[in-house]
Amino acid sequence: MDFPTPKNLNYFWTFGAILVMCLGIQIITGIVLAMHYTPNIAMAFDSVEHIRRDVNGGRIIQAVHAVGASMFFAALYIHIFRGLYFGSYKAPREILWILGVIIFILTMATAFMGYILPWGQMSFWGATVITNIFSAVPIVGESLQVLLRGGFAVGNPTLNRFFSLHYLLPFIIAAVVALHIWALHVPGNNNPIGVEVKSKRDTVPFHPYYTMKDMFAMVVFLIPFAWFVFFAPDILGHPDNYIQANSQVTPEHIVPEWYLLPFYTILRAIDFNVLFIDSKLGGVIAMAGSMLLLVVLPWLDRSPVRSGNFRPLFRWFYWLFVINFIGLTYLGAQPAEGIYTLLAKICVAYYFIYFLVILPLLSRIETPKPLPTSISESVLKKAHA
């Protein structure tokens, strides 16, 4: 608790604590939901409705869990984009960053499997589309797909194993979160100016300063959370998921939850063959690549300056990257036709160019603004300005 923490952290640094809270909320509500849920294709849909209609407090617990997934990802994306802007992935925090990427991927897998459980139309068809992806893997693809589904098509075995894994993965996430926090305690926090802590004057003890600030931010975060839970619990979902799964009827558009849309766009954008790689495998490689690329980010961006505040060129490309990422989200919800396919290709191209070309190049050509010599100096200058 006396962990010395830079005193200049802004509110973006509270999202780590907020995410721990989100994980806690999901685990607690999830355990209660599992007491009432039935993982069977004939009963799953009605059992979720049973929770909402007949279980005491069930509609609130269910809504907190469903809305909680969206809030979790909102916080997760803020946390990641904070790291991208302030260079939190740079040495000596590579391990911390890579553990974070692992948490991100595990969380997406968990959320995806959770979305299957209500066994609505989007659950079923989402599961069908995503498990189909694995058949693109060379040689072992077909067997892998059958293993995931527990059969040749999505059915009761799929629902059962996804339920089992959806219960297991959060605890693995919690374990990696523990490693993530451990890895944070070795080099200490990055901070908005990206200058390492030089002396005791630069820091304050974590408790009570940051425990209090984090708790305040958590309470504020719960306000929009509660807004959705109590006033618009269905607005973040898709109406089709209130139709029980039916393998005979395909929805007009199969759309994953909003937080998976950027990667869904990347998957769909590759609709052409590259040499011996067909479009399906190409899409899978692009999607997997877009996530795995994050692992090597610390070695792609070689600029010694961490904070985007002191990188005049980087900032332009960074904000364009943010807009581009929102574009990827938007395009994931659109039908893959007409102008959308072209826009999707442009956005996907920028996603990769940002990491593979712009960041390595910028570190060579950019002249950063002069850095303050210490956190204390920058803080005092701000106070006198």
């Binding site: 005193k7 200049n8 952290l9 973006f12 009605d46 409705e49 049973h50 209609r53 509609r59 609130i60 969206s70 909102a74 994306y77 803020i78 984009f81 802007y85 908005p192 304050v204 009570p208 300063y209 209090m212 600030k213 708790m215 305040f216 309470v219 719960l222 306000i223 509660a226 807004w227 839970v229 109590f230 006033f231 618009a232 269905d234 607005i235 973040l236 898709h238 109406p239 089709d240 209130y242 139709i243 007009e252 558009h253 759309v255 939850e257 909003w258 849309l261 505040n309 943010v322 807009i323 929102i326 989200t329 938007y330 919800a333 204390s376 920058s378 803080v379 005092l380 701000k382 300005a385």
Partner: protein, 285 residues
């Protein structure tokens, strides 16, 4: 200066992250349907609650018209006397339930009179039987149908939906569907047993126009309730409201809890901020 920049960045990022789900959800159901008028529902918005009389009328429409083909398998008789609903008394519900027969393996003849704890009996024993009786089309179950439909709003209307908590897309669609029957335009190919509907995706719907003026004689008016017109427009509003209640029977208590929770959180956040400021006092940061 620095903090200004942070505030701007925070607003931009928050806006961006709010826009993400907003953009995604734009793709609601009812993709290819034409513009659907919003009805001024009593249960819309954060202060909205159900109108008891409207739910009673809607229930009557469901019971006398819709229920002959459409099941509502999650709807229990007891729901009718629960708080925030149509406001029937328990005695009324018991008497109503007794009018219906429900299947029961352990009873003589495998059926018995329903009790309030029973679910609404389905009109057909199976989906296949329902299809056979309806020219191959399956009348959808009503339990959560009002939430299983939606309308897609054009930009930028949908962005405001997150702040107005607009959740009535499904009922707006159902109301538009029930009032959307028209003569098929010249050259439109309708199969036998299909009807032209302006808002139904593809326009060819297998449900014949279910409502005509005067088909339901509202009991509520006789019992001293307000005089309401017995028209297709009124019936479709009332039955849509009833369907919303079917899908979301605890809407009123959910919103009431929301006010208490958010009020608590706002006050708590204020106290937390005061404490935080006090602790950080004198620390330049």
């Amino acid at each position: 200066m620095m903090s200004n920049r942070i505030v701007i960045a925070a607003i931009a990022l928050a806006g961006a992250l709010l826009a993400g789900p907003a953009l995604a959800a734009e793709e609601g159901g009812g993709h290819s349907t034409p513009h659907i008028d919003r009805v001024d529902w009593s249960f819309a918005g954060i202060f909205g609650t159900y109108d008891e009389h409207q739910l009673q009328r809607g229930f009557q429409v469901y019971r006398e018209v819709c229920a002959s083909c459409h099941s509502a398998r999650l709807f229990a008789f007891r729901n009718l006397s629960e708080e925030g609903g149509p406001g029937f008394s328990e005695a009324q519900v018991r008497a109503l339930a007794a009018e219906y027969q429900v299947p029961d393996d352990s009873a003589d003849g495998e059926t018995r009179a329903a009790i309030p704890a029973d679910r609404w009996p389905s009109p057909y024993p199976s989906d296949q039987a329902a299809r056979d009786a309806n020219g191959g089309a399956l009348p959808p179950d009503f339990s959560v149908l009002a939430k299983a439909r939606g309308v897609s709003d054009p930009f930028p209307t949908w962005a405001f939906n997150y702040f107005t908590a607009y959740q009535e897309g499904g009922v707006d669609y159902i109301h538009a569907l029930l009032t959307g029957y028209e003569e098929a335009p010249e050259g439109f190919d309708l199969q036998p047993g299909q009807y032209y509907n302006e808002v139904y995706p593809g326009h060819a719907i297998s449900m014949p126009p279910p409502l005509v003026d005067g088909v339901v004689d509202y009991a509520d008016a006789e019992a001293g309730g307000a005089e309401v017109p017995e028209t297709v427009e009124q019936y479709s509003r009332d039955v849509s409201a009833f369907m919303m209640w079917l899908a979301e029977p605890h809407l009123a208590s959910r919103k009431a809890a929301g006010f208490r929770v958010i009020l608590f959180l706002v006050l708590f956040a204020g106290l937390m901020y005061a404490t935080k400021s006090r602790i950080w006092k004198g620390i330049e940061h």
